[in-house]
Symmetry: C2
Subunit: 189 residues, 2 copies
C-alpha cells in the first residue's frame, strides 16, 4: 500500500458501503451478505470479500453513515435545551434509517463484539453528555436532580426509544415533556 | 392431512423449532437459515423447507417459546404490585434469551410484516394491561395519574428496556422505583 490508495479501490469500497446501507435500510441486516452486496453493487463477490472478510464489519461500517449526534453543546437555559434535544431525538427515531440502525445495533451487539463495542460507546457518550449538561443545570440553579445521575439517560431517552421501536408510534410534546421532568425537579419554567 | 398428524412429522417439526431457537440464542437471527437449521437438527434441508418455506416464519415461531407474561392479574395495593411487575420485567430483560427475543422483534418488525404484527400485539397487550391496572389504582384512591394513560407503558417500561438493551446493565431498585413514580403521584406508601 502507498500513501495514495488506488482510486479504483476507493470507488469499489464506496460502492460496497452504499450497497450495504441500501440493503440494510430496504431489507434489514439479514440482507447484508457478500452475495447480495456483490449483486446490488454490480461488483464481483471476491472484491467484496477482499474489502470486508466479515459481513458483520461491513454492516457496522454501513451503519456509521447514519450519525447520532445528541446532547452536544448544552447551553442555558437548560430546560428548553433538553426539550429541544429530546424532540430532535424523537423525530430522528421516527425515521426508518435511524430506527434500523438503533435496533440493529441493540440486536447485533448481543452476538457481535464489534457491534457491542459500538453500542457501549454510544451509550457511554450519551450518558456522559447528558450527565454533564444536567450537572451544569443544577449548578445554574435551574434543576434539582433526583436519584442517580447515571439513571438520567434511561429515564429521559428510554420512553422515546420504547415508543419508537416497540410501540412504533410518534412521541408527542406531552410525552417529551414527561421525559424532561423525569430527570428531576426543574425550578425554571 | 388427517386429524392425527404423522408422529415423524411432529418430531421433525419440534427438532427444527429447537434448532432454530438454539441458533437464535447462540448466534443471533442471521444464523436462523434453512441450511444451518438442517445441519444443527441433523435433518434434510428439504424437510426444513417443507415445514417452513420462509425462514422468517420459523424465526417468529421459535421466539414464541420465550413467554413475556407481564402485568397480568393486577391486585391492590397497586404500588407494590407495579414495583413487583417492573422488577420481574427488569430481571427477565437481563436474561440473554429475553434480550435476544425483544431486540430481534424490534429489529425484524421493521421489514417483516409477521414480526411487526407480533410486535404490535405485544405492545398493545402490555399497554392495555398497564392502563387497566393504573385505572383501578386511581379508583382505589392509591394513585393520581399524570398525563395520558397511553404514555404509561413507555414511561414505566422504556427506561428498563433502554437500560437492558442499549446500556446493557442491570436495573437496580432505585431505577425501578423511578419508573413506578413516572406514571403519576402515588398516595399510598
Amino acid at each position: 500500500m502507498t500513501d495514495e490508495p488506488d482510486p479504483r479501490f476507493l470507488r469499489s469500497r464506496q460502492a460496497i458501503l452504499d450497497a450495504a446501507r441500501e440493503l440494510l435500510l430496504a431489507h434489514g441486516p439479514v440482507a447484508v451478505t457478500h452475495q447480495r452486496i456483490a449483486e446490488h453493487a454490480g461488483i464481483g463477490r471476491a472484491t467484496v470479500y477482499r474489502h470486508w472478510p466479515q459481513p458483520e464489519q461491513l454492516l457496522a461500517e454501513a451503519m456509521t453513515t447514519v450519525p447520532l449526534p445528541f446532547f452536544e453543546s448544552p447551553a442555558a437555559p437548560f430546560r428548553p435545551w433538553l426539550t429541544g434535544e429530546l424532540t430532535s431525538l424523537a423525530r430522528q427515531l421516527e425515521l426508518d434509517a435511524v430506527r434500523a440502525v438503533a435496533t440493529t445495533l441493540a440486536n447485533a451487539a448481543l452476538w457481535n463484539p464489534g457491534m457491542d463495542a459500538r453500542r457501549a460507546g454510544f451509550a457511554a457518550a450519551v450518558s456522559q453528555r447528558l450527565a454533564s449538561a444536567l450537572t451544569e443545570a443544577e449548578r445554574a440553579g435551574e434543576l434539582s436532580l433526583r436519584g442517580e445521575l447515571s439513571d438520567a439517560a434511561a429515564l429521559a431517552i428510554g420512553p422515546l426509544y420504547y415508543r419508537a421501536t416497540i410501540e412504533r408510534a410518534p412521541a408527542d410534546a406531552a410525552l417529551i415533556e414527561r421525559c424532561v421532568a423525569a430527570v428531576g425537579v426543574w425550578t425554571s419554567p
